[in-house]
Subunit: 421 residues, 2 copies
């Protein structure tokens, strides 16, 4: 395919997605849920077939010398397949946001004004190696009434195509346009660039992946971008904290699943409790095999910790490594978070009401918690249901993006002859 | 100034805006309102001084041969100055959205989760010739806790600088950083390009002006853009309309103020009532001096109308010109609007409940009205208070953007030791 043909292909995909989105916009919840459940059923039925195709992607990735972590993310294990099917069933069980009137009020002239939820239209999802994102993202976009254009990693192309095909077949069985779910069928990066120019057809781009990918998309896109960026999350343990609670929270925030964006990367401890709290919690971390990198003050209480450098305060380890800093007071903790944080998830542990409220008000992050673990920043945990990711962009959605965040609202007005005077 | 110096200047402005925004973020409503009222007072006091400076801009624009309409928009008349001052007082009287918790719910583990309104951070407003936008936009951004960077038309630069200076002086008197309001102090278009690269410091760009400006901004910007685009607004008069009400609405929608984006540009009439409704309403339009451009069917009933071409259905006249089309039924009206509309404002006039609800549901526009004039798409009319414009972008805000739309929400959570299991 030459460049012109590739550009035409991408334009056709985007145009078809837009056209199909009109059919999806007002589709009943019953039909959408039936489709989702049918796709779940088929994914289970076609497990072996999917794994056979996925094995080709995996084999090629191995031959290219990809890391074990990469291969893990790429593999459609029994567990991953079941979780995709279950995920779709969960999305089917969630309330349909489309058509909901979230607010209504009356004007002095009698006009009833409201805001009604509507789909965005066409959403492009750009992601890396996990093929399960294909089904998760397609399910969420479909339920929220949006067409989706998926551009996964080139290593997962066969798997992504096979997964999308199951969804598309099902759509056809329901007499719905299969163009509501499309995959960019080529690994050529140029295709992504062409896609990002098509503001006329695509309403939103969500890049999920490493910093390089996200920067690339932001730079090239004429379409609004919602970023799902890194998480340099902190827990601040105040002098007035319940130290038993604090221990539970900081162990959970670091160790329960260190490889994800809402895991804690830096622990901030008030100087007045450092001498009692740090040695205790360090013992716990040792059991989990956590490497500690501390400020000079920390090293006094945890001699086996490594010395932290300036880069450690910026680091998203995604691993069993933790930066630890002793701070003078709440203000220093807030200032540290403002300087080094990534607006993702921040927590305070304290029994002091005024400090809790100050932290809540002054810290700028998609989720700010009092006396709870950063690991709770997740659509499921916060009660939104399935999520497409956690936005660190403030425009449109800040925090976990569930079905509601994939919609917008239009104003509606019921009148009886009102005019402007 | 060479290119590098210009770029550095713009970066400094953006950095200072960001830094100042932290001071503004949690400022009390009382102080914000006091500042706004003081600025209003000073604008009135310094009227003559402002008009003297504005006269230089006006004179230069005249010498350049700018149109009368352009000169009108540029001129700070007594009326415009009073309306700026009054606008600020109105903004002061509006409720402060910052810190409001719009929703709160409890999770099974006892965690209380909520969404709290917070400022976006730094907003850039790019506009054309009206210097009053400087004060209106600065007032709205200030009240909603955002720093603002203003880039107006080069013809209004002296006026914009003088207006902003009044605001900045007042900020200093209140010991607040004047960098929350800054003007790009050069007409060089390169400065705007540099600004649009600064996603690190600027959170949102709002371009207001002609199609060329908006396209330029969308293409160059790495920062999210909310467009305030053109309005090709329709009123559909159904066969089951109350024709007296319909007449009042379509006259108001076209004639009350034809030069604005929520004025009607195309009238759609059901074929069954065309023979009675069109001659009557055409007589009314004649009195207002409205030129009609009709489809062949329209010309049968209004022989003096001109013949409409394909371009007329796309046209935003912003003038006493109206395109008129007779349609077979509601479906044809909805299809016409989907094809030629601009997602701005659409209205139906009907007494039929099912048709009203169908129109409301299926038409995609920032405001969809039943039995009311398109001219009501306005922050004040809909009850939002002052507005920064009407967004036709679906991301973040769709429709009039008031104070709330200049904020985002962060998640907050009150726990008592909750962890992820």
């Amino acid at each position: 395919m030459n460049e012109q043909e590739l550009r035409n292909l991408v334009i056709t995909i985007a145009k078809e997605a837009k056209k199909a989105s009109f059919k999806l916009r007002n589709l009943s919840s019953e039909v959408k849920d039936a489709v989702l459940k049918k796709v779940a059923q088929k994914i289970r039925e076609k497990k072996e077939e999917l794994q056979k195709i996925n094995a080709q992607d995996v084999e090629e990735a191995r031959a290219q010398g990809q890391s074990k972590a990469f291969i893990d993310r790429l593999t459609l294990s029994d567990k991953v397949i079941e979780s995709m099917a279950k995920g779709l069933e969960e999305i089917a069980a969630l309330p349909d946001p489309v058509g909901e009137v979230i607010k209504m009020w009356k004007r002095p002239n009698g006009l009833l004004v409201g805001k009604m939820r509507i789909p965005l239209g066409v959403i492009a999802i750009i992601y890396e190696s996990r093929p399960n994102v294909t089904i998760d993202a397609a399910g969420l976009c479909f339920k929220s009434g949006n067409s989706v254009i998926l551009r996964g990693g080139k290593e997962a192309l066969r798997s992504n195509l096979a997964l999308a095909e199951i969804f598309r077949e099902t759509l056809k069985e329901f007499n719905l346009p299969c163009e509501v779910i499309q995959i960019i069928p080529t690994p050529d990066r140029k295709a992504m660039e062409y896609l990002l120019e098509l503001e006329e057809y695509v309403d939103l781009v969500i890049p999920r992946g490493g910093e390089g990918l996200i920067r690339f998309v932001t730079e090239k896109s004429r379409i609004p971008v919602i970023k799902h960026y890194k998480g340099v999350c902190h827990v601040y343990v105040d002098e007035e904290a319940d130290l038993e609670m604090a221990k539970k929270i900081v162990i959970n925030a670091k160790c329960q699943r260190p490889g994800v964006c809402n895991a804690m990367e830096t622990l901030l401890v008030h100087e007045k409790i450092a001498s009692t709290f740090l040695p205790q919690v360090a013992e716990e971390y040792k059991k989990y095999g956590v490497e500690l990198r501390g400020c000079p003050e920390t090293l006094k209480y945890v001699p086996w910790a490594k010395s932290a450098t300036e880069e450690d305060w910026y680091a998203e380890y995604l691993d069993l490594i933790l930066a630890v800093k002793v701070v003078k007071n709440l203000d220093e903790a807030i200032a540290h978070i403002a300087k080094y944080g990534s607006n993702h998830t921040e927590a305070i542990v304290t029994e002091n009401y005024t400090k809790a409220m100050k932290f809540l008000k002054e810290v700028d992050a998609s989720l700010v918690l009092v006396n709870a673990s950063t690991r709770l920043n997740d659509g499921g945990e916060l009660g939104l249901g399935a999520e497409i990711g956690i936005s660190t962009t403030k425009i449109h959605a800040y925090g976990p993006m569930g079905l509601e965040e994939l919609t917008t609202t239009k104003f509606i007005a019921f009148g009886n002859g009102q005019i402007r005077t």
